[in-house]
Structure formats: structure tokens, C-alpha cells
């Protein structure tokens, strides 16, 4: 039997911001390779902080975080970029560079880690085909719809083969039809072996596309169930 590796492990993790706000209070969680997992909860409950800890945008105040088995606290600052190469991140507002085409936006992520140019061309083509935008690759973000822009941003997040994809409300700015396109895409990426963690407020999606659900309220995990439900009324 293959050993299941934890992509994320948190043990008694606290996050207290300098202004005294306790965003997370004793989080214990484990997310394994290949999982698809929703993070839900009211606004201001600590979801964002939880997500940011996973790609080391924030450091925990106390407790232990292992990313791919590596204790984040022991990683020196200058090595953080190499840790991040194994993690792709997608945001609600896409964060595309407006003066670059779809192709260039995706290629940018490979240039930034100094990938060989020949490899960049074929790989960018490949992921743009995967997200269904091969024919739109010369368009600027302003010429693309919201759904298309989010697909470019997903392409950018996975172009370096990260193995772990974090999506912070990826459907937050999209209409239901485009939201579902994005969800099918994430599901396909997950089916190819990439772990996906997605923070969301979308009740319909969570209740239809059943996956593991982690609910956070007041900085504490109040619910963690496979095939869970959204559980809130907003």
C-alpha cells in the first residue's frame, strides 16, 4: 500500500496579530496528498489567515506547521521562494498583470523561477489548453471575461507543477455558470493528483460538489467532515 503523505500538517497553531486580534486559536489539521478540501466559515472567522499560513505568507505565532513534511519555522527566509514553488495560489481578484497577454502572464511564472525558454513555450501552451484558453492566449486580461481571467490565473498557478493548489474564493467574483466552469477545472486538476484547498462562501458549490469541509469559526475548527455540507445560511 502506498504511504499517504501529508501536504499540510498543523499542530496547535495560534496566530495573534500585533494589534492583539487572535485570528487562529489552536488549529490542528492534516491535509493529505490528493485531497480536495473546502474551507468555510463566516467572514472574519480566520479563513484567510488559515490559508495564508499554508503558503507561508504569514508566520504562526506559536505551534508547528509542516508543509510537505518540512517544518516551516526551520526554513530560512531566503529559502522560502523554493518552498513556494511547490504551491500554487489562486485569488478572487485573479491578480493578472494587465499589460501582459494571457500567454505572457502564465509564462511570467516560469520566467520568475528561471525555467529554460524552450520549456516555457511548450509548457505554457499545454496548461492553456488544459484550462481551455489555447485560442485566447494573445488576449490581454482586459479583453477576457472574469471566468477566462480566473482560468488564466489557475493556469499560472499550476504551470510550475506545484502539487498543491490553494484557491482563496476563486469564484467570488463570478456568475454561477463561470463558477461551475472553474469548479470543473479545479476538480480535473485534483483528479490529476494535485491537492486542492479552496476557501469559499459558495453554498451551492459546496453542497453540490461534495468534498471534505473544514469550518472555521472564531479562530477554531468547529467542523471537519468528509463529503460535508456548507452549513451556513449566507
Amino acid at each position: 500500500m502506498r504511504k499517504v503523505i501529508a501536504v499540510i500538517e498543523m499542530h496547535d497553531v495560534w496566530k495573534v496579530y500585533p494589534n492583539g486580534v487572535e485570528a487562529l486559536r489552536g488549529i490542528d489539521v492534516r491535509i493529505d496528498q490528493g485531497e480536495f478540501c473546502y474551507v468555510v466559515g463566516p467572514s472574519g472567522a480566520g479563513k484567510s489567515t488559515f490559508i495564508k499560513l499554508m503558503y507561508r505568507e504569514e508566520k504562526p505565532s506559536s505551534g508547528v506547521i509542516l508543509i510537505n513534511g518540512v517544518n516551516v519555522k526551520r526554513v530560512r527566509d531566503w529559502k522560502i521562494p523554493y518552498l513556494r514553488r511547490k504551491i500554487g495560489v489562486v485569488f478572487q481578484d485573479y491578480k493578472l498583470l494587465p499589460h501582459l497577454t494571457a500567454y505572457e502572464n502564465v509564462a511570467f511564472a516560469m520566467e520568475a523561477i528561471e525555467a529554460p525558454r524552450r520549456k516555457i513555450r511548450s509548457r505554457v501552451q499545454e496548461v492553456l489548453e488544459l484550462v481551455g484558453l489555447a485560442d485566447r492566449m494573445n488576449a490581454l486580461p482586459s479583453q477576457l471575461s472574469g471566468g477566462e481571467q480566473q482560468r488564466v490565473s489557475i493556469a499560472r498557478a499550476i504551470v510550475n507543477n506545484p502539487g498543491f493548489l490553494i484557491a482563496d474564493e476563486p469564484t467570488g467574483n463570478l456568475d454561477p455558470e463561470n463558477s461551475w466552469d472553474i469548479m470543473y477545472l479545479l476538480e480535473e486538476i485534483n483528479a490529476r493528483g494535485t491537492t486542492v484547498v479552496m476557501a469559499t462562501h459558495n453554498k451551492e458549490i459546496v453542497n453540490t460538489m461534495r468534498k471534505r469541509v473544514i469550518a472555521i469559526e472564531n479562530g477554531v475548527i468547529v467542523r471537519d467532515e468528509d463529503q460535508g455540507e456548507y452549513g451556513y445560511e449566507d
Binding site: Y55, W78, K95, E111, I113, A157
Partner: protein
Amino acid sequence: MKIDTMFRHAREAFKSLKRNTWMTFAAVSAVAVTLLIFGFFLVFAFNINYLSKELDQQVAIRASIVPGASADDIEQLQKQIEQNPEVKSVTFIPKAQGLQQLKAQLGEDSKILEGLEGEENPLPDTLVIVPQNPQRIEELANKVKAHNLIEHEDHGDGVTDKLLDFSSLVRNVVLVFGLGLAVLAAFLISNTIKLTIFARRREIEIMRLVGASNWFIRWPFFIEGAFIGMLGAVFPVIIVLAFYKAALNVLTDGSQYSFIKMLPMMPLSLYVAALTTFLGVLIGIWGSVISIRRFLRV
């Protein structure tokens, strides 16, 4: 690092300079003004340094020997003084030679010395003693004076001291002033770079997210800063050297043997150009370091 990557950094830097034309212009001007002042001080400092070295060489004790001392005694005295480690050199000038030198200095007015040759020569035999360290000439002069074969001693009566004090004061003032200006210029550059970083903060954010190394992010800004510094050095160097050439022509008629001692154009121009450019690049890079640190928190 790969050549490809280096080209990319340079391309990014120039793109950003072009995109922010006005900010680039402002920063380059700021650097240029600073370096202009620095450049003038530099030629001044070089010349003061040169002058004080010349002065140092002229600083000497002229010790006159009591009349009637024998040649043997004088030779012995000279050897004795030479043994002092404070002494650089001792030259014996017999009174006949001294008269010749005086005549040469007086030039056309040397007529007044006519008829003083031979037995009538009123000048004493003289030892010219050059000290190792011009600053300690006073001490050495007192020692020399103590000798009973020395009738009288003259070391410029503190004029040289004052000149030496003045030149070292000027050197220090130049140093402090120059340093202050460099800091000022670095902050001006850092502000410019800050603006270009601000314009590119989304790019930096994404680079950080996808795992670009800190150096990969920094390089374009370093190149940008260095280039602003280099560009800012061009005009000051030209202006300073043009002024210096004019000053050289007016003050010394282009002759090296005039009353006012000034360094010739070469190799001074090379030093000034190299130092000014170097300083420009340095404050450029420094400026970009200051401004990028904050954006690179991990």
C-alpha cells in the same frame, strides 16, 4: 546566473526607466546636481592634496653654520644630523652656492648683490634639513639649534605649519561634505526606485507567490539604480572638467611652471571621471537597496 536571465533583468530595468520617464529624469537630475558639487570638490581636493605635498617637500630647516667652522667639522655635523631617524635628507650649501641661488631668485634685481662675491660674501654656509614628517618640524628644529656649530635656524616661522593645518582642514571638510551629499543623493534615488517599485508591486507580489528568488526580484532594481547613477554622472564630469580646463588656462596660462601650482588635465580627468561615475553607481545601488528591502519581506 544564466545570461538569459541577466538580459531579462536589464530589459526589465530599461523598460521601467522608460515607462517612468519623468521620475527617471528627476532622479538623474538629483544625482547630477550632487555629483556636480562632488566633482568640483574632487578637483579641489586633488589640487589641495597636490599643493600640500609640494609644500611638504618645501618644508625644510635652513641652519646657518657659525663662520670659520672647518670643513671637517661641517662634514661631521652633517653626518650626525643625518643619523637622526626624523631626518629625511641633509644638503650642504656652501655660501658661494647660496649666493648663486639668491641671485637666481632675484632675477633682474640681482644687481644689488654685485660686489659681494668671494671674501665679501655675507651669507653663511648652510645645511638644508628636510624632516621625515613635516608636522614635527618644530621639534627637529629645536634639536638642530641646540648644536654649538649652528648659529641660527629658520624653518618658515610657522607659515608652513599654518598651510599644512589649512590643507588638512580643507581635506576633512571636503570629506564630510561629500559624504553628506552622497547620503542625500542616495535617498533621492531610493525615492525614485520606490516609485518604480510601487508601480510594479503587483509584479513583485506575483513573483514572490510563484517562488522567484529574492535576487531574481532585486536585480532589475539594482540595474535601474546603477544606471540612474551612471547617467547622473555624465554631465557633472563634462561640466567639471570643462571648468577645470578653463581655470587651468586662465590661472596658469597652460604652463606647468607658473606661480600657481595646479594638476595638469591628465591624468586628473580620468580620476575625476572614474570616481564620479563610481560614486554615482554606488549611490544608485545603495538607493535601490534602501527602497527594496521593505518590499521583500518574506
